[in-house]
Each structure stands twice: as C-alpha cells, then as structure tokens.
Symmetry: C2
Subunit: 343 residues, 2 copies
C-alpha cells in the first residue's frame, strides 16, 4: 500500500465534491490500486486546515456545503494561513489545485500555487484553466525539471478525457483540426433564445438555474471557450498558442430570430471553438457561433453535453462527447488524473 | 535514443499498413520521443524474414501490396520458417500480432504467438480479437508474471481509443453500462436495405466493395460485435465475460421493410452491443439490431463510423465515435499502443 499525501486548494463547487469523492471512493481505490489517498491539507479563501496524519474529507465537504470555512475545523483549522503558505510549507506528494479561474488577474492565485508545488517537487492536478492558459510552457518546463507530472484533464469539457486522449492516444499522429463545444452555458442560452425567450429572459432563466456565473461575459463572450481552445492546442497540437491568438466572438451578437431562422433550416447554433492547421503551416484559432448542420456530431449535443473532435492523419476523425448532469464529473477529473499519475 | 526491436506477425490489411506507418512515421517518432522502432522480424502465412539489424518496412509493404510473400525478401527471407518459430526464437522487445481473427480454431495461430511472446518477456500489441476473447485472463496473468504489457486497443472499433479510455480514464469509476456499434459492415448493409435493396443485392454490393468478409456470417450474425463486447467487458468492467455469455442476434432476421418502417418513424437500425449491470449485480450482455431514436448518439453514425458509450457513476456518460474511411486507423492502433508502452 502506497500513500499519496494530498493538498487540496479551493473548496468551491469542484473542491468539496472532490472531498466527497475521496470519502466515497477511498476504500475502493485502496483495494483496487493499493493506493491510499490521504488529504493532509486543504485551503479555501478564508484559511487552511492541515494534519499530516490526514483530515476527514467527508467532514470538510459537509462544512463547505453548510457555508463554513475550512479554518473552522476544530483542532486542525488555521484561520490566518493562506493557501500559498500551505503549498509552500506542508509536506505532500500532490497538489490538487481547484481555486477559481482568474484570467484577468494573471491567473492568480492558482498560478502561484501550481508553480510553488512544482518547484517543491510535488505532482500537480488541476481543473483550473488560468495557470495553463497563461503559463503552459513555463509550467511544463518546471514539471520536467523537477521530475514531476502536471495533469489538467479537467480544464476542458468537464469529465471528458479530451486532454488525455489528445496527449496520449494520438501519439504519432498529426492533428490537423480540432473542433470543440467545450462550454455548457452558451448552449443553454442559445436553446432558450431558440425557444422564443428574449435575451433578458434567457439570461435571467440561466442565472436562476445557476448555469450563468455572476459575471456571465466570461462565458457569453467566448472567453471560456477560447481559454479551453488555447489549452487544447498547446496540449494536443503541441503549438505555443496564446489567448490573444484566438479570433474570438461570443453569442451576444446573435438574436433569438437568428437562432430560430437557423432551426427552420435544420441547423443548430453552437459556440464552436476551432483550431485548424492551414496549408501554409500556420494555425488559425477561432471561437464563434456556428449554425451546425444536422449531420455534424455536435448538432445534437443536449443541454448538459460538451464535445471535442480531433481530425488526424492516421487515426481518422475521433469525436468525444460527455453528458454530465452535475459538476461531479468535473470534480472527478482530479481523481482520474491522480490515479493516472500514481497507479 | 532507445531502440525497440519489433516482430510483426501477419501482413494482411493491417500488417502491411503498419509497415507503411513505420516507414512514414519512423523519423518523427525518433525526433519526438527519442525512440527507434526497428522491425527485426516479420511473418505471413507463407514464411518469415528476419534481420537483427532491421528490415526495411517500406519494402515489405510494397512486396505485400504486390501479392508477394515476406519470405521472398532477398537475403533475409526464410520460406520454411513459421511465424511461431520466429516468435519463439528471435530476439525482440515487442510482438505486434496482426494475424487473422480465428475464433473457431481456438484463436490460433494468434493465441500461441501472443502466449509465446509474453512467456519470453516481450511486450505484445495486437488488434487481433481472437486471443483476447478466448484467453483474456490467462494472457493478462502471463503478462503480469513476466513484467510486460499486453495492449489491444485495436481490437474494438478500429482507431477509436475505446479500450484505452475505458481502462485508464475511467479509473475510480463504476461503469454501469456499455453501448457499442463496433462493426462497420452491418451498418452499411442495414443502410442498403433501408435504401430499398434486397438482401441478395445488399450482400452483393457490400461484397463487391470489399466491406464483407469471404464468410460474412461472422459480421452479419453478430459474432464480431459479440467478440468486441466480451473484450470491452473484460477490460472496462473488469468482469470475466465469455462469448457464450452474450445473448447474440444478427441482422439477418431483419427485412428491408423493417428497416424502412423504422426510418419512417425517425428511427435508424444499428447492430448494438450492450452490457448492463443489473440491480442484482449480474451483467446482461446482448448483441441485437435496435431501432435507435434520432437523439441517440449512435443514430447518426455514418457508413465508416463506429462508437462506444460508457455510462459511469462519477464521470458522466462518455461517448466516443470514430470516422475512418480506410483501414489505416486500425493499423495505426499498433503504433499508438507501442508508443504508449515505450514513451
């Protein structure tokens, strides 16, 4: 039995669900893979908790669901300590970084957490797009120098193993084109517009159902899809793409009438992210709403579904889609990546 | 630079295309992965060729395309030697086993090739279903005892990494249901029937286009799909399923009128392979033609497309489909698996 000492930073939607997964799946993982996943430290924006002998993940999940802070944890809570201090000081084998995405503020605080963990020789697993979008090459260089792994399968299209398939199962191939519908919320808003709701009504409905973020422009203006495209291109096409290389358009320019007119012609609007290697060798990266024909593999994606397609020279055209009614699959990517490192 | 000495057994449709891939991709693999893929032995049903310093894969591919035998190769050809003798005697790191599937004759000769290679401490990569269907547990036990890997991503749904995703990316999950359309030829025949051809016409057309095997019953009666389901269940559900556990029905019981009547209701017949964990914990395995509704992810699969869906407890429902206009992706799975072992 091997023990993996885990630090978990970020206890929002994904973080506390990952605690649940550790509690629910721990015994099975021990039995099947002879691996003990031991949560030795956890942090949210209000403080940390740390115990080298292990914290109870079920208890932390319950605390967070009830609106508490991890620093409230009796005995092990440390209200004054930051996540970065925890990562810089605690002894662990793996950092699971699930703090909020923040592209505006230089990917912080996630980027510093990831950088610090790699420099200390910890493996890192993260569904946080920020550090990968802004510092893909730097972080991979750091990981290689310190002999550790950096995994980020959860950054694109939730529970879909899009990154893992692209990096591993397409080895030996040239990927000539990537198409992705990596964002749930835009598909839902487009569907509501097509059903006859006004923009104001569609926004209000999506917000009420928790589908829209407090600042919805990140999704609606295509930033989220563009960020995911940048990660896909770096990981799968092995090209140093940056956010500013993406020709980006959101869905806010579309009217309900546009969406309904397309429907009448059997076409479904989706916010599509595309990377294409042109004849001159240059990459063209684009995010824009596209009215997909009925035989496009993404035209039938439902409300909770995302997808990625890889066109390759030797493995044909491979399409992956996922149906995820809850955020559990996105949280579970941290378990997938952890097991992929240590099993 | 690390050298992988490869034996290739079977130089049919997949084998010679794998030779082409070694020739086309060799330099790139050396550059990207510091790995030299060296073909040191090859065998077809008429003899072998062997050279510890390396055979020219492009030359072997050309020889086979022209209808020749590998034993015709000047200097290195050995007309009297069998593939099994080659595997038993030659020094190599990896066996690529691509001899014809043969479930009737106990999976031979492929099974003996795989068994012998594993016993000699070689890794094995194979798209040959026979050995996996008939001896899944035995061969995995052998591989574990000899500290080598057995990879078989090409056994199910051609170039789709269905096995790899199922074994690796679903770690930690319980897979409650598998659905697959793993066979190209039945989909094509069903389409022809739906277009108004008689059974005799549909068979003749599919045979003329090279889609049907000389003995088409293996595909049409569902044996091929059942074999692939057995491999999926062993690999992904970790259950010791056998061919006789599959409730198997082919498409020959369907008439063109059945297919057309379904179409009129917006449903498309596909030969569907399903594994389901029932409430009592037992697995129900079934291959049968099913009229899929328009919103089923497989209803839109085209003529050269296959698919697999995994329903899981923590990763949502993941669907993979592949569009492969030629047999190249199926041959390329041997490159994928080889790189997955050695990179």
């Amino acid at each position: 039995m091997r023990t993996v000492r885990i630090l978990l930073v970020g206890l929002g939607n994904l973080g506390w669900r990952f605690c649940d997964l550790l509690a629910e799946k721990g015994a099975e993982v021990e039995r099947r893979y002879a691996l003990r996943l031991l949560l030795v430290g956890a942090a949210d924006s209000r403080g940390t908790a740390c115990n080298p002998a292990g914290l109870d993940p079920a208890r932390i999940a319950a605390l967070k669901r009830a609106g508490g802070a991890v620093a409230d944890l009796p005995r092990w809570g440390e209200p004054g300590r930051t996540a970065l201090e925890l990562v810089a000081q605690a002894e662990a084998d793996l950092l699971c970084e699930a703090s909020p995405v923040n592209l505006q503020r230089g990917g912080e605080p996630g980027l510093s957490h990831v950088r610090t963990a790699l420099q200390r020789g910890m493996h890192v697993v993260t569904p946080n797009k920020g550090p990968l979008v802004l510092a893909y090459r730097e972080l991979h260089g750091l990981a290689a120098r310190h002999g550790v792994q950096l995994r980020f399968d959860g950054t694109v299209a939730g529970g879909l193993p899009a990154i893992n398939v692209g990096r591993r199962d397409l080895r030996g191939a040239t990927v000539t084109r990537i198409e992705a519908v990596p964002n749930l919320c835009t598909g839902y808003v487009l569907e509501l517009l097509g059903d006859g709701l006004s923009w104001a009504e569609a926004r209000a409905r999506a917000a009420a159902e928790g589908v829209l973020e407090a600042d919805p422009s990140f999704d609606l203006e295509g930033w989220d899809a563009a960020a995911k495209l940048v990660i896909l291109v770096n990981a799968v096409m092995d090209a140093p793409a940056r956010l500013e290389d993406v020709e980006r358009g959101g869905i806010t320019g579309l009217s309900g009438a546009d969406v309904r007119a397309a429907r009448q012609q059997g076409r479904i609007y989706k916010l599509l992210a595309t990377a294409e290697r042109r004849a001159d060798g240059e990459l063209a990266l684009r995010v824009e709403p596209v009215p997909l024909a009925a035989d496009h593999p993404f035209s039938h994606l439902g409300r909770k579904q995302m997808g990625v397609t890889y066109t390759t020279d030797i493995y044909g055209r491979i399409t992956l889609t996922v149906d995820e009614p809850t955020p559990v699959p996105s949280a579970a990517t941290m378990l997938r990546d952890t097991l992929d490192i240590f099993v």
